[in-house]
Amino acid sequence: MSTPITLAIDTATRAITVAVARGDEIVAQGQVLDARRHTEELAPLLADCLDRAGVGVAEVTQVVVGTGPGPFTGLRVGLVTAQTFAYARGIPVYGVPSLDAIAQGHVRLDAPAAGSEFLVATDARRKEVYHARYRVADDGRSAVALDEPGVSKPADLPAEVRALPAAGYGPVLYPDLFGTAVLPLDVDAADLAMVGLARIAVGAQMPTTPLYLRRPDAVEPSAAKSTLAAGGRAR
């Protein structure tokens, strides 16, 4: 089989990030730091990365996408882009939780000791963070999630969890509530691609279902107000 070409996309953090990998080598990577312009920025960034990688759209063999958790609107832009691109090209799309990519980034950047634990905490808005604990694998080159991603107020996390070195933007937002802040702050699609490739290689289940972790805000209507009192709203 010829070398797989992987397109990796993540929009769960402040970074709109894209990477192209040939085999397990990253051949182009790009990001835009603007959490309010996913719709505008992602597609041109994709085109630019493929261009710089010298890869035509027809050569891409698989797509890896970050499934969050992250602010919903941006998260959906990445997911629908990845799913639709893959559908149009008739290639598979694989989901990777975005916090796993940040954990991989921490291992790559800081080379923490094998067996040590750390936290990933990202901005969930509403004064909350998305979080998960990780342990550095025995080979020191990857991270293993110790729990499912959660969402909570930083102060509601156990003290021993908050005392762990913490990657992601959460510790930047709430410096008094977390221990040591470590890199990276946001997802890098290159890390996402590496996690994805490792899991694809072992045939892991990789659904692209978004990790919202919160239900939609919606309230059922109460009884209608009286229109007879006070004359209503006159026009």
Partner: protein, 362 residues
């Protein structure tokens, strides 16, 4: 990029509210209109919940694309262009459709047209009744919009004559249906209830007094009507009398359709236009269709109303406008085009290299 093909094969995506719509047209021929609606999920909230709608769009995008391709027998690789609703609408919902359209355009190497939702409601009639007379007066009435437009060219010149100053017409249907204990969305329920009713109550016609007409000749107002209905019903209940639901529905519906059709025909006369097109979800209302036909016949105006499924939000209307843009050699949009929740109706297309001249007759 400018493309001119005699019968362009265009796929359109619509996600401005609670319908995930994928349509495919070839020139002026409709090939498929696939729609997935999340309306049932919103019913218990009495209105569309934006986050619920956005989640449903993401879930339904690929299945709806698959259905459109399967039912039409079109291979995506045979397409000539992609069109998508850029706005106006719910921001989070629009973004799902816009991102999907960009992914298709990029993956298939096709030109992309970011188009106005309201212009699409006008353009859909081309696949139903052939080329649009130029100019046409268009009246768009839905749960989110109530607009009178002068349309010299649906691909790049649309002028706003008037719009609602408060509630959209469809919103009034929803709210009155709730007062009457009918379901959501209100339009079809009121239409059905009114079939068995008589027009017995003279509800107010908004913005139709001589003084109102000076400033708001082609504008609408439905908030006062909605309140008048609610007060009438509540007064009956307080007095311990039965509420004649069918008669209230018929009388309310009459008030809405009377003012809509009167202003639409007045606009045709004022601008000397011999064609009126009605679109949007409220155009599915049977009384509106009948009254518009009577009054247009009497005024010598050709009325065009698409079949009901093409009045409500759908992808075919977006594809139809995209096909017109390709036929007329309009430039494609840039891949950076936005989802613009408050896109003005005069902006027919988004993501253009230079801004279009906006001509407000209003």
């Amino acid at each position: 990029m400018t493309t001119s093909i005699s019968q362009p094969l265009v796929l359109g995506i619509e996600t401005s509210c609670d319908e995930t719509g994928i349509g495919i047209v070839r020139g002026e021929e409709l090939l498929v209109d696939a729609v997935a609606s999340s309306v049932d999920e919103h019913a218990r909230f009495g209105g569309v919940v934006p986050e619920v709608a956005s989640r449903a769009h993401l879930e339904e995008m690929i299945p709806t694309l698959e259905r459109a391709a399967r039912d039409s027998g079109v291979a995506l690789t045979d397409l000539d262009g992609i069109a998508v609703t850029s706005g106006p609408g719910l921001a989070g919902s629009l973004m799902v459709g816009v991102a999907a359209a960009k992914a298709l355009a990029l993956a298939l190497g096709l030109p992309l047209y970011g188009v106005n939702h309201l212009a699409s409601h006008v353009a859909v009639d081309i696949v139903e009744h052939g080329p649009l007379p130029e100019p046409t007066v268009a009246m768009l009435v839905s749960g989110g919009h109530s607009s009178l437009l002068l349309v010299p060219d649906v691909t790049h010149d649309i002028r706003s004559l008037g719009s609602t100053i408060d509630d959209a017409a469809g919103e009034a249907f929803d709210k009155v249906a709730r007062v009457l204990g009918l379901g959501f969305p209100g339009g079809p329920h009121i239409d059905r209830a009114a079939q068995d009713g008589q027009i017995t109550i003279d509800f107010p016609r908004g913005l139709s007094t001589r003084r109102d007409l000076e400033r708001h000749r082609f504008d609408f107002s439905f908030s006062g009507l909605k309140t008048a209905v609610a007060r009438w019903v509540e007064s009956r209940r307080v007095a311990g009398a039965d509420v004649p639901v069918a008669d209230v529905a018929a009388s309310f519906q009459e008030a809405v359709t009377d003012v809509l059709t009167r202003k639409a025909i007045d606009a045709c006369r004022e601008y000397d236009v011999a064609a009126l097109q009605i679109g949007g979800g409220v155009a599915a209302n049977s009384r509106l269709r009948a009254m518009a036909q009577e009054r247009c016949d009497a005024a010598g105006i050709a009325l065009r109303v698409p079949r009901r499924a093409l009045c409500t939000d759908n992808g075919a209307m977006v594809a139809s406008l995209g096909a017109q843009m390709m036929l007329k050699g309009r430039p494609a949009s840039d891949l950076s085009l936005p989802a613009d929740s408050s896109m003005p109706v005069t902006d027919v297309q988004s993501g253009l290299p230079v801004t279009v001249d906006h001509d407000h007759a209003h």
